[in-house]
């Protein structure tokens, strides 16, 4: 097709009635010929105006809704496709066997239980020792400094990192009237023996002995925040922070209890999951084995059926043959056959 020939096809091309072969040839020419493009554009615009010669009719409102619905569907499909592609690109996450980890957690749990017991025992022993120490006649009660009362001492967050065992010696001298030391009529040996017995059996100390100790020690001995101040003869006041150890121990034990609970819950959930999975797999295996058995039985029965029918047919044929051979007609036929052969 040359350029002049192409020009004659422009009208038909714009109307859309050009045959396929001619249209392909024209398209090849149009790619590089801007003059042809310009001429075709004029005819295309003219043809696009033709619908205005018709009487315009409005489509129903439903058509617009249909278009909107279709577009929403298309967008959803595209989204799902994209998601599927992204999923395909993501590497597969293999779940490792967690049984070993669970066992380790269990052993750690038992270890922590032991540790908490040990800590509780130690704290109790320390408390007993301190109480015994307080019972000496040199121990005096001193008022609690305002700095300690002002703040909540049980808050471990505010306490600096000081070793629990470290004794804090305060230089502050409290102006208090120190009365003469009074000795109480307590049998030290007996009380100490009782305490150690109690430690060994992990029992709560008897109320009588505690009451005796409490009478000597504090006015309100049950509060852990109360500090016992030991005034030495050198004039320095020794403050033993029991609350540090107590607070830390209580904090640790509370944490371990929470952790234990959490772990136990997790373990329970995992055990249930495993049990469900096992039961499911067993169920499916059972179904599959049943299907296989049924299929085998069916195949065997079909095989037997065909075999027996074939055997029966054979036998019938043989019977018929035998019947024929024994009959008179058959003899005649055989004779006849032989004669023809001869």
């Amino acid at each position: 097709m040359d350029r002049l020939e192409a020009k004659e096809f422009l009208q038909a091309a714009s109307l859309g009635c050009l045959d396929r072969k001619e249209l392909d040839e024209l398209r090849e020419l149009l790619e590089f010929d801007s003059e042809l493009q310009f001429e075709l554009a004029a005819y295309q615009t003219l043809c696009a105006m033709i619908p205005f010669s018709l009487e315009i009719v409005n489509p129903g409102e439903i058509v617009k809704d249909n278009v909107a619905l279709r577009l929403i569907k298309i967008e959803e499909e595209l989204r799902s496709k994209r998601e599927a592609e992204l999923k395909a690109q993501m590497p597969e996450v293999k779940v490792e066997d967690t049984s070993e980890i669970i066992q380790e957690i269990q052993t750690l749990g038992t270890q922590t239980e032991d540790l908490t017991q040990e800590l509780a025992e130690e704290s109790f022993v320390q408390a007993v020792e301190e109480q015994v120490e307080i019972e000496t006649p040199e121990v005096f009660e001193a008022p609690i400094p305002e700095s300690y009362l002002a703040e909540d001492i049980t808050k471990t967050e505010d306490i600096p990192d000081i070793p629990i065992e470290e004794e804090i010696i305060s230089e502050e001298i409290f102006e208090t009237e120190v009365t003469e030391p009074r000795t109480e009529s307590i049998d030290e040996e007996e009380s100490v023996e009782e305490k150690f017995e109690e430690v060994a059996t992990h029992e709560v100390p008897q109320e009588d002995s505690i009451a005796q100790i409490e009478d000597i020690k504090y006015e309100e001995p049950k509060q852990p925040e109360v500090k016992t101040v030991v005034e030495t003869y050198s004039g320095q006041v020794k403050v033993e922070h029991q609350s540090y150890t107590e607070s830390k121990i209580s904090d640790i034990t509370s944490r371990t209890v929470a952790e234990k609970l959490q772990k136990s819950f997790q373990m329970d959930i995992e055990a249930i999951k495993r049990a469900v999975e096992k039961s499911e797999s067993k169920f499916f295996k059972g179904i599959i084995s049943l299907i296989i058995i049924c299929a085998i039985l069916l195949a065997v029965s079909i095989f037997l059926f065909f075999k027996f029918t074939a055997d029966v047919k054979k036998l019938e044929q043989e019977i018929e043959k035998l019947k024929k051979s024994n009959s008179v007609g058959s003899n005649y036929e055989t004779q006849k056959d032989y004669s023809s052969l001869l």
Binding site: Q11, A12, R27, L30, K64
Partner: protein
């Protein structure tokens, strides 16, 4: 954004950026004209509605195939609609049609427009009266040939076999009819 004063070219650019409001604006503008055209070609109301929906789905999905160097959006939309409707009509009557897939749609349904002049619906509508008077001045035979080619979707050879006249005669008739229409339009404008 005010879609009424926005040109079709700008609306199509926004459709390319997946702006559904722009497509809605195009629908509101074009749907009566396109529905009339489709209904004239396929002659069934329900089918015409489906084809109209198809056309706007194509516009939504294949806007990237429009060459934005050219600004004649009106011709692109109308000729796309005409091609789609004719294809539906052909498939309805002829069972041995080529497979409708993306490649077919890109090559034979979506037109290639070469017009640098911006033409939107409003400009085209303003010329509609001129076109009507120009068409009325065509001969009966010329009008019939245009009708067979544009609304019936027949090719030149099919028109020739239908009218039982030689193919060159059909070609010349089509050429003359369109040239006459063009001249009449120009004379109406002047």
């Amino acid at each position: 954004m005010n879609n009424i004063n926005t040109s079709d070219y700008e609306l199509l650019q926004r459709v390319l950026k997946r702006d559904s409001k722009a497509l809605e604006a195009l629908y509101d503008k074009y749907s009566p004209l396109l529905y009339t055209l489709i209904k004239r070609i396929v002659k069934e109301e329900k089918l015409a509605e489906d084809v109209l929906a198809d056309v706007f789905v194509i516009i939504w999905q294949k806007t990237q195939l429009y060459n934005f160097d050219f600004k004649n959006v009106y011709s692109w939309i109308v000729l796309l609609t005409k091609n789609k409707a004719v294809d539906v009509l052909r498939r309805k009557s002829n069972a041995e049609s080529p497979e409708y897939n993306d490649e077919y749609e890109n090559n034979f349904i979506i037109p290639t427009i070469y017009d640098y002049n911006e033409l939107g619906f409003e400009e085209a509508y303003s010329k509609s009266e001129q076109l009507k008077s120009a068409v009325s001045k065509l001969t009966e035979a010329q009008r019939y040939v245009i009708q067979l080619a544009f609304f019936e979707g027949l090719t030149e050879s099919e028109i020739a076999s239908k009218l039982k006249i030689p193919l060159p005669t059909v070609k010349s008739k089509i050429r003359v009819a369109l040239n006459t229409l063009k001249d009449k339009m120009n004379s109406e404008e002047s």
